[in-house]
């Protein structure tokens, strides 16, 4: 656990750390293992680059209002970095805050790159339909596809809470258009 997380813990607030997120999301270590050459004699597991994501301040938790998304860029300012954070008002997988209801996602459809910014639906806590091919995503459930054609869940931006400060610290899932999440 790194130094930035400690203040939050001292305050005894409910929050989801990156490590907790990865654990509850099915991996067994804090480092995502990528299988290279799977199925072959050359198969080997190498640590993914998750540890090198920037830690970026996004907003004050207290500034978030239920069902009012904020846009931000992450993990860089490059193509498809546009992301959104929203306080859902209901508990969500990977959520932070007292009710574990604050989550963040990349804003580009993992089908063919349709823009999802501005498509948040308060009644269903979802993004979409995508203007390209109508995919919709459930923000309470790690961005899983509700209905549609996307090849992957929507990449979830991992959040950390330090006091009242919300930081983006990683991304779970490959961002559309990129061959790897970190361009440099």
């Amino acid at each position: 656990m790194n130094a930035e997380m400690k203040p939050a813990k001292r305050q005894g607030k409910c929050r989801m750390t990156r490590r907790d997120f990865l654990l509850t999301s099915g991996t067994t270590t804090a480092t995502v293992m990528v299988l290279v050459n799977g199925g072959t004699a050359l198969a080997q597991e190498i640590p993914a680059v998750i540890a090198t994501y920037p830690r970026k301040f996004i907003t004050k938790l207290s500034d978030l209002k239920v069902d009012e998304p904020l846009d931000f860029d992450y993990p860089d300012e490059g193509f498809y970095a546009e992301s959104m954070i929203v306080k859902l008002g209901v508990e969500a997988g990977g959520g932070i805050g007292r009710r574990r209801d604050v989550i963040a996602f990349n804003s580009w459809c993992t089908h063919q790159g349709g823009p999802l910014a501005g498509t948040y639906k308060a009644d269903t806590k979802s993004l979409g339909m995508c203007p390209f091919h109508l995919s919709t995503f459930d923000l309470t459930r790690h961005g899983i596809l509700i209905s549609g054609q996307a090849y992957e869940s929507l990449p979830q931006v991992l959040l950390e809470l330090a006091g009242d400060d919300v930081f983006a610290v990683g991304i779970f899932g490959l961002i559309f258009g990129r061959s790897k999440n970190l361009l440099s």
């Binding site: 999301s25 990528v34 680059v49 349709g114 109508l134 459930r141 790690h142 209905s147 996307a150 258009g177």
Partner: protein, 891 residues
Amino acid sequence: MATTPNFTAEIEIPLPPSDAEVITTACDYCVVACGLKVYRWPVAGNSTGGPEADDNAFGENFPVAPLGPWVAPSQHNIVRHEGQPHHIVIIPDKDAQVVNKLGDSSIRGGLIAQKCYNPQTPTRDRLQTPLVRIQGVLQPVSWDFALDIAAEVGTHVLEHHGENAYGVKSFSYQFIENTYAITKYALRHISTANFTFHDTPSNVTSTPGFRDAGFDNFGPAYEDWMNAETLLICGTDPYETKTILFTQWIMRGIRRGQKTIMMVPRRTAGVAFVEANGGLWLDVALGTDLLVINAMARIIVENGWEDSEWIQNWVNNKWESSSGFGQGTRNTPWQWRTTWGTFQTNGFDDWKSWLLGQDEFVLENAAAVAEVDPEKIRTAAEWLARPEGGRRPKTSVMVEKGLMWSNNTGGTQAIAALGIVVGAGGRPGQVIGRAGGHQRGGVWGGHYPRNKSPMKLPGRRRRALDTDTWLLAGHTRLAHCIGTTWIQSMCGSQQLDQRFHELVLANPNQVRSFDKQEIIDTLKARTDSGGMVVFNQDIYLVDPIGARYADIIFPAATWGEDNFMRANGERRLRLYNQFYDPPGEAKPDWWIIAQLAKRMGFDGFDWQTSNDVAEEASPFSRGSRKDFHMIKVAAHREGKTLHEKLGEFGTTGIQGPVFMNADGSLTGTVRLHDTTLTLPETGPEGANVFNKKLTQFNTQTGKCNLQKSPWSLFSDYWEWQRPKGEELWATSGRVNERWQSGFDDSRRPEISRRWPENFVELHPDDAADRGIESGDMLMVYSDRVPSLRETTLGIEASDYTFTGQMEAGNVELTSAAITGVAMVTRHIKKGLIYMDFLNTGQPANALEGRVVDWVSGNYNYKIGVARVKKIGVSPYKTTFRSMSFAPRDIT
């Protein structure tokens, strides 16, 4: 929290290097068959493409633009090619100019790389060797061992129990080479009437009304669905079930102002999109489509909105109906099925007077039974046919299983008639056809021996043998099942399952020996004692047909593991190239059948390659909608094989029927029944054949038969089924994210996270009445599943109706019970539940009545009832990793 293992999200993928091989194919799944490209490069050498355009096979800089050749992690795999490990990336063909233009694909086809066998993935349980059940356990054996036993038992059954004791239940679509080999074996050589395809209990048409009217099911071109000004879609949401037909064609039409009407009881994403863009949703109650269709037809003729010029030119009148030395309407299939006078008319005026004489088609009456707002029905009728400023709308009609499999004969007769009077059919943008389910990969290698069927209809005609009833009655001694679950895909499936158990496992003759001859003798003894032996060919071990009942398993090679041909829903033929090695000893179905046939002493099975089979099948495609014979003629002229020649057409393929031009080049057929098409006055040259269906309809005169569609032929069954007490209508169908039984989807972590179990959609009001919330575990059950005991027998037509069969004591009521996860949702009509139709573990078709449509002989798969109660809470209710309970109609 650990409800779903295998959930890790990858954040980097290997790009194909610029020297990667590129192999074309098409998707294995739905009828649309999107063009795909396989990028293949060896693992050895550790070469991977880079994000710069010069460094990858796409020639694109990463990040790519929207719609560009992005590679999702789920689109990469590692396979063996010529024994060596290779990377593959499979993405839709971004250069496609047909079908999936610019490389669109659904989630199903998009994830097809995960279909490929890789022992490091959940595909590791592919069948890899033949298996024989010894001491109750399926054990690996050699091909010779398994085939020798199978051939001996097969021959014994034919000699001692007759051809109809050898039952063959097969896919109809899993590539032309395989279906040709299977039907040649079953129909030309075994010559059994105990034969049918995966989606029907007997060898009958899915659309009797279309056949009688003269419509080919797949006449239209995809562009027609876009170019229609009004489009009526019955019994399907194409967005969910043939996605690219919707996203690339119908959606473009809607954005250009098409008025779209969808008649289905669920408001899924395509319906929601249609409504959001000014279209109409007719939320028809289960099984009542015929009433709504005829109510619309009635409004149209009452107002004189019918297409009189079209009807004048293209509908048979009284004399034309009887023309052709008795080969006109008098001898169309509906006469074979029924007594005289039930359907045929003397033309438009006769049909109109019949229509106006039926009270159930009065708008208010039909709307009340169908539970649809009458104003919406009236608006739909206006859109379909009312001229604006003296000009008619260009109207097209699309149908699929929600209509066809609710009231098989009546529904398809009604929609065919409506299509005719609104002028749908025969012109660009004015067409009528099926949307389709699976692809079209059938070529007949033999004729169905109808005269061997003991099943008949009132009058003189025999009906194709109902293989399920035949099996239940104990007449099938050898069940040879190829590439279908058989049991779960049929109606009343738990009763069928129980009978398999009695005939196979409860029989005392079970294999307890290591000795081949003793095994053969044991299986022969089982057939002689009234029991049944089961052969199963498939790519995975399926429960229960393979896992519980099969005595012998033949492991099949499939898509990507041999070269195959197949057509899509606009008759577009493509070569599906082999690009990797089949797992273990798995062999394509044509090869398995050939080895078995040769051992049984049948000639004509000496094929060496799949191309050999395709070339033999070629002349048998003549006259069909996918006639590809001229491709072979062209190929041989050029010193090529049929497969090589078709392969030159890449993902574009060519639409059947195929013709050769004077210069030796080939031309496809955009649409069938195209009355605007002009054929050369000199007629066909060389080996070309011009079939009537190119420019006319499939009837004696080439004109359409306009027919009646009486509600009374079906209403007794519908009234009997109608929910009583706490029952709800229970229906089933596909869900967008899964294909068929999920044989591949259940092995894709992302899809099995989305749909880990079968679901039970129910309306919030119905849920509240039963104290049910989303995520609750439900028991869905019925003790009112009707089932035919034996062959339907009778003298008068009325004896064959559901009422007649009930009175004759030929219908027994069986029970069914299925669990599922509650999905309380606004997108389903009140009074109805909906489940995934082919989930093998929680088989929804167990609830549907196992009573064939008495006119057509097909099942009405979509009609059933059930009671629903909460039995607990599923893990998905309170955890976040798996499933979603959000509605499918979010816009």
